[in-house]
Symmetry: D2
Subunit: 181 residues, 4 copies
């Protein structure tokens, strides 16, 4: 943490802080035996090593995996929770808890707060975040996630598709540095 | 309107009002020369004829088409707007204007307020509403809309797919009467 | 209802529909033995008689009273609910149920959707709606409600204070017709 | 920062992270010549020195003052913004930018995410945050802020009123450690 803190907040005063958050979106119902969980852990770890704050929905599964990976690399993690302080805690690897109390409407907040995001695995909430990211101009990288095709098209839209955690992180960092689209 | 008013609000006091709204979701950038626009107009008309309130996002394209269809059948239309009274008006066929001022986060409100919904055409906002509907238990019928497939699956999930406006309306009415899933 | 329907939706096509909703805000924990409840019932009735849609938070107490008054005058009532279809129903006098699922954040939606609003009685939620109305440019009339004074001032800010339901309705209608501030 | 980082994230693993955020709410239109601005700066500084993350609405005036104070004490600052990345930046002293894109509805998020909060100065947005805090169970301390009295009461409700920044910080820390009400 000391390292990333220095990088983030002290040394690099000139860093554009509006670009320093990268999201990791994915379902809450996968376990650490799943390859998606392992991918999310690795993604979280790599993002923190590169000095990015890792933002998730704050709950279980992919969200826990990414937050745990970031924590182990001494990064800062943010969780944007659908519920309130009273309706239940975030996973234990979240540093900054934002309780929205607005249910799935918080998915739009997730997307708007990231310089780029990586979606891992499936789930309908994740699909909504992919769609909202595309709608709101947040670059989104898909890793083992949904395939989507518009009506009348043979091919899916020009999404960024990664095959490995390393590739996903590389694409996300590049997109965040470019400043969205 | 007189007819639907009587049906909705006066005669059938016992009707479950929590089931009386059906949503029509779709992009704002289609014109009345497009088949999706014509489909949405027809869907709005049929829903109003059957006594349903038609809820849309309140803007142009598919949203205007469905609202206009419902208006011509003397139905009541609701628009859940992303902006505020000051940021711009709804289309002229919306009766009840709900200004959320919350941007795309309002897509979750659209979904939660309908007994069932029909998605027509593409657009990323529409895809987010399909996903949020699936997430929140709002039955969603796709008509000339997205094809979505989860990671690792050969087939899309068990969505309700309609081929015609008539079929879409029939499916939506049936689903709304069942009370969601 | 037939009358108000005709007025609202059929005959007066030229009426500016963006001004046709007036809100009634107040706490959920008052009973029909309380003078605030009776005032809210009368306000709802008078607003409906004048052709306005009555918008409330959809729950009990003042919200039920205003909706019931409007229903008895054959008006249309809208309820903007903090919860979801699954978390609980609106009061039985609400025609159009908007389920936001966003808790108290829905108070901002209430305020933004009204041409003017009347706050009756106390409660902290009501105070937040008074403040948000003042912030968002929704004319707000106080009837048996909070007294608020900014720091350093001897007098409360220039709020519209009504002494009777009749006066409150008159002020709200006038403000809504003027189009906010 | 190094010190507070260690305190917050590394050394004190057992610290309850759900209680580590304290909010500072206040209007955007005060300048550093105003006593409220100086009070907010001092409050931000003291909160950071005690190891708390300082959460504000991310904009100017009181929000800038509190964030700047916290930054100078090497603390971490969070800004919950009403707009989006495209609609405008946070003040330069915000580390973690949460863009909600939901306008004043974000005031509810501010309140729900804090273990306690201090309101400084006036403004209607601030009054709404005071009310929402009281509604949502977030302990709220008033410093040079609104006076509010419910209908029929001679006295304001039992709010925590502080006379100095030191007293406000002491009350907020105590309340946050108690865990709300």
């Amino acid at each position: 943490m000391k390292g990333s803190c220095n990088t983030l907040f002290i040394t690099d005063k000139e860093m554009d802080m509006t670009k320093n958050i990268i999201g990791v979106f994915g379902p809450g119902n996968v376990s650490d035996a799943d390859e998606e969980w392992q991918a999310a852990f690795s993604v979280g770890q790599q993002l923190a090593e590169r000095g990015y704050v890792v933002l998730t929905g704050g709950l279980g599964g992919i969200m826990t995996a990414a937050s745990k990976g970031a924590r182990e690399a001494e990064g800062i993690t943010v969780g944007i929770l659908p519920g309130t302080r009273k309706s239940g805690p975030a996973n234990e690897y979240v540093d900054i808890h934002i309780y929205t109390g607005m249910g799935e409407a918080r998915n739009a907040v997730n997307v708007k707060s990231c310089g780029a995001a990586i979606a891992i695995g499936g789930g309908y909430g994740t699909l909504s975040e992919i769609a909202l990211a595309l709608k709101c101009g947040c670059p989104i990288i898909l890793l083992k996630s949904w395939s989507i095709t518009p009506h009348g098209a043979m091919e899916p839209p020009g999404l960024l598709i990664a095959q490995t955690p390393e590739e996903a992180v590389g694409m996300a960092v590049l997109a965040a540095e470019k400043g969205g689209f």
